[in-house]
């Protein structure tokens, strides 16, 4: 392969299954990126992971009875999130312990149910690692539809979701039904997870939710910019990961996640203001001239930059 000719960029697009795969990963990148912003800001990463695993029995049951896999997953997700809320409210078991219990319990139930199937191993692998090359046109349309629903709802209620995430007590005082918006967000999160399952698989879906959003947070202090960046990073890393997967025969889910984590690592080290390496370099330059800086120091500026 001649890397200079750039034909390697267009080659994968000649296959229909790769076109579908690119379409799916872009959609998933955008949907999970945007949803993930609120997951990371509200510290719901563990919850998201639990939800991804706990939808497993729902999917298996729907698969066994020949029902709609998406509906099965959604029902399971809602049941699990309500269950976590109920156990967490008992006062003796903390929320993340409740998540841990239902997370593992749900997943075990799924495995047990699936074991009755003859194609057990194949199905389990597809579920765990995704099967992006098997995405059909119909899957793509469904993903797009759900994406419009999730992103549209988040846009419509953006002010409530932001206020609840930033300052719950104030949100309550403003008359926002905090409980209702928590539940709404969990349903949106469940939808985002379910549409990501086929592309990246159950084990790696968390990476698509958390990593692009975390990368975006390192680059900006503005929520709007963070949402845009997370969507862009999610989609771009997805596409790059698919190329890598195509040429190196790495499973697509793993490949996409590795690219996402790699980009996070680069930004973590070298982001203009927040990067570990770049800020250290900047500090070295900064403290090179203490006598000059003494005059530049204003109390207000000092507080603002803290």
């Amino acid at each position: 392969m001649n890397w200079l000719q750039l034909s390697w960029l267009t080659e994968p697009w000649q296959h229909t299954f790769m076109q579908h795969a690119f379409g799916a990963i872009i959609l998933v990148g955008v949907i999970s990126g945007v949803t993930g912003v609120f997951v990371t800001l509200r510290g719901l990463a563990f919850f998201g992971d639990a939800l991804a695993h706990a939808v497993f029995p729902g999917i298996v049951i729907a698969h066994l009875v020949g029902g709609n896999v998406l509906i099965g997953a959604l029902v399971a997700a809602v049941l699990v999130s309500l269950g976590i809320g109920a156990i967490g409210q008992s006062g003796r078991v903390s929320n993340d312990t409740a998540i841990g219990i239902l997370f593992a319990g749900g997943f075990a139930l799924g495995v047990a149910l699936l074991a009755s199937e003859r194609s057990y191993t194949r199905d389990l692998t597809a579920f765990l690692l995704g099967s992006i090359l098997g995405v059909t046109r119909q899957d793509l349309l469904l993903t797009a539809g759900i994406g419009v629903l999730v992103l549209g709802t988040m846009f419509w209620f953006r002010r409530e979701l932001t206020t609840v995430a930033f300052d719950r007590v104030f949100a309550q005082a403003k008359g926002i039904n905090v409980w209702l918006f928590d539940q709404l967000f969990l349903v949106l999160l469940a939808l985002a997870i379910v549409v990501s399952l086929q592309t990246v698989g159950n084990v790696l879906v968390l990476a698509m939710l958390v990593t692009p959003a975390a990368t975006a947070r390192l680059l900006t202090d503005r929520l709007r910019v963070m949402i845009g960046l997370a969507a862009l990073i999610g989609a771009a890393c997805g596409v790059a990961g698919l190329y890598f997967s195509y040429y190196r025969s790495v499973p697509s889910g793993a490949s996409v996640v590795l690219v996402t984590v790699g980009v996070f690592g680069l930004v973590y080290l070298f982001a203009p203001r927040t990067g570990v390496v770049s800020s250290r370099l900047a500090r070295r330059v900064h403290y090179g001239h203490p006598e000059r800086d003494a005059f530049a120091h204003q109390p207000e500026a000092e507080q603002a930059s803290r």
Binding site: T163, F166, D167, V169, K174, D221, Q303, R306
Partner: protein, 278 residues
Amino acid sequence: MNERFLAAARNDREGEWLQSNISSLGHALSRTKAPPVLAVDSLSVHYGDRPALCDVSLTFSAGETVSLVGPNGAGKSTLLKVLAGMLPPSHGTVTQAGKPLRRPHPAVTYVPQRAAADWLFPVSVLDTTLMGTAQAPRWRPFSRGEKGRALDALAMVGMHSLADVQIGSLSGGQQQRVFLARALLADGAAMLLDEPFAGVDVPTQGLFVDLFGQLQRRGVTIIYATHDLDQAARAASRVVLLNRYVIGDGPPASQLSAERLQAAFGTHALMGTDGSPG
């Protein structure tokens, strides 16, 4: 200036009306004609078995600055949440302008404790203030007018120049100023503040006292919880001593006496407040 004059004139007219009708009650009753801005009657609140407030009856009229003083766990925050319509009472009633208050009302603004917010959140000072905007259509971003009003509110608390700064990079006092600006934007008849002076620098405290004075003159009722007796004496026109029950209620000078405070705080707490009362 004009507004104040009109308000004074209105008060006089009400006074005349009252004096001609119920002459024996005198001018002092002129304020009681309109229903109180906020009132609680025989209020009790329980968290499970634990009582937080017992048999509290209080009325708050327009233009009062009331400080709720009491030790930790005295029910100050609970009372504020009930008055904000966020917490239903176990017994008794809450009324806002004469009507029962069952849920948060736009006329009542609540300023939570600073610790309640997520300060790492990626919002600017202006974004935070805009959260106080009452009703903006969902389909569009905030308009120039709405942003202008938010900047005006920030200017009132001296935070105008830091509008684009991330909220978490501010000092404690500056954060509390932004919270106050957000509350000013709601333009309510009553403002409830939970520990507005906690962890706030001296200039900010002074600014708050001035601002409370301005709001008071505009007829806004301000009720704030504090355990800082100095601030209670300086900023408030009325002090309510609270320790689950109402221990005392009246002008600062009468309430912040040694015996009263001992009744509210107990002996141990009083040792820490040496010199402050009076």
